[in-house]
Symmetry: C2
Subunit: 304 residues, 2 copies
């Protein structure tokens, strides 16, 4: 239930990391972009074709060593509906290759509107007599600012489709404290949001001790990672901010439990742009991504 399949993937690969698929055109080797533009012109369709080809290469190179991918919806939406089509094709391809897919959409709304997001991203949509998975991810990041009314529709869909959510708790950015650190009833807002995650998670118990309701906590806040790991024993942590945003392996070590579970660490730019940093041939971008993913795995496992 919920995030169990992610945990099983982490155990299988012995790798508690997720590769963020944030495909800015600048990150994509020029030959891929050029081929896509030749086929589709310098259009949103052309950009989307480049993104999909790039993602498929990354997924092929990573799928046996990294358990999960996290496509960031914004980088697909910026290319309009063709970009969103590339998102759905990326999700389908990664799942075909056995990866757990976390759509990073930070969606939020209430009632029947949240039901629509839940159906679209984590379940199926009814059209006439047919039921179709519109996006079909395994998990979705969500924003809990609206409270339980915004989360309940997700829990129902997650139970039915064996999918999960990650709720923003303490985000990696410098100004996250403007709201999240405010003292609210004797504890910071982020702790209150964390407590809500534990409560919501009671409805989606998992077989490894973690519920289907995870929390997003940035690698840039090592003290809060440790605090939340201790305070939220059933809440799996999705940790962005490793690498490019400044978090290192020592910073994220506190996110894990004594069994080395309880967290998955995301790297986006580090993996996507490994070919630039390495200075290898652009054609070897996927190989460079794999090498960086293995280096990251060893870096993190070494700190546990």
């Amino acid at each position: 239930m919920g995030l169990d399949r992610l945990i099983e993937g982490i155990k299988r690969t012995n790798n508690p990391t997720v590769a963020g698929l944030d495909p800015k055109l600048d990150y994509i080797p020029e030959p891929i972009v050029r081929a896509a533009f030749e086929a589709h012109g310098e259009t949103l369709e052309g950009a989307a074709a480049a993104i999909l080809a790039y993602n498929k290469g990354l997924i092929d190179a990573l799928c046996d060593v990294v358990p999960a991918v996290k496509p960031q919806a914004a980088y697909y939406e910026m290319y309009g509906w063709p970009g969103v089509r590339a998102l759905s094709e990326t999700i389908a391809y990664a799942r075909e290759k056995g990866m757990f897919v976390i759509t990073d959409g930070k969606r939020n709304d209430i009632g029947s509107t949240m039901e629509a997001y839940a159906a679209g991203h984590l379940g199926t949509t009814r059209v006439g007599e047919a039921e179709t998975a519109a996006f079909g991810a395994d998990a979705l990041t969500v924003n809990g600012y609206l409270g339980t009314d915004g989360i309940r529709p997700l829990l129902d869909v997650c139970r039915r489709f064996d999918t999960g959510i990650f709720v923003l708790v303490k985000t990696s950015n410098p100004s996250s404290g403007e709201l999240q650190d405010q003292p609210a009833g004797g504890q910071p807002v982020y702790r209150r949001m964390g407590s809500l995650c534990e409560r919501w998670g009671e409805e989606l118990p998992g077989k490894y001790g973690y519920s289907g309701v995870g929390a997003v906590v940035g690698a840039t806040w090592p003290a809060q990672l440790g605090e939340l790991r201790a305070a939220l024993p059933h809440t799996f942590l999705l940790v962005p901010g490793y690498g490019a945003q400044g978090g290192g392996a020592a910073d994220v070590a506190g996110a894990f439990d004594r069994d080395g579970l309880g967290a998955v660490i995301n790297s986006s730019r580090g993996i996507l742009c490994a070919w630039k940093k390495e200075g290898c041939a652009p054609e070897d971008y996927a190989g460079a991504a794999r090498r960086e993913a293995l280096r990251m795995r060893d870096d993190i496992l070494g700190a546990l």
Copy 2:
């Protein structure tokens, strides 16, 4: 700048309301759905074609008496990329007809990711040498839980493209208080978020006294509407929850300033399903929507 064009539309039509375009298939008259299914099958494409036809009929019927529409992204995303294409076509059609378009996406993220959302929804996306408006709305609803890092990229795009944002402050749902009413440093969280809106808005001053940074406050909280109207003199209010969610004209009166400006009231289901409530022929759904929109206008103007 920012929301000035919305305010001008409200003055021109003498109507401080916005029609929410939340096109559930259940709301759409059966002949429209049947024609779309006959052309495209019971598929996501078929659903999207029905939605677009329905929306165009509504926009045609409303565009001279209602200044703005608010498509809710969730109801398009649930139909996958064809649904998202219908969203972009709906936005383009409403703008062609002179309406101000608020995409209700409640997007949120940080840094370059928020830049991607901002470009996609409120600006243009660069592809090779070309700049394309991926969605091209006039305003976007956003969630400020991540703080200034999540808002700054929007302000830059809004300034450049004469577009605006509405930040969730006090949402209409019953459980909004779980987080938003928590006392945070001497004031509830929603008041703190409101103060941030005033601060962010300083960068997007408007010519009618309201900035390009508005706030979402539910019609279900009349006391807070009045409180926030007084406390946030430069922040335009987008008020959902009229009608189906229980808010009436008297409840929203406090959202307006002494000139009858400062707020725009949304109705979705009331307008979309007017044909069902009226019991008119399904073919007259757009006429029923127009009659309900005029009734709502008169109801609200009568309470000011």
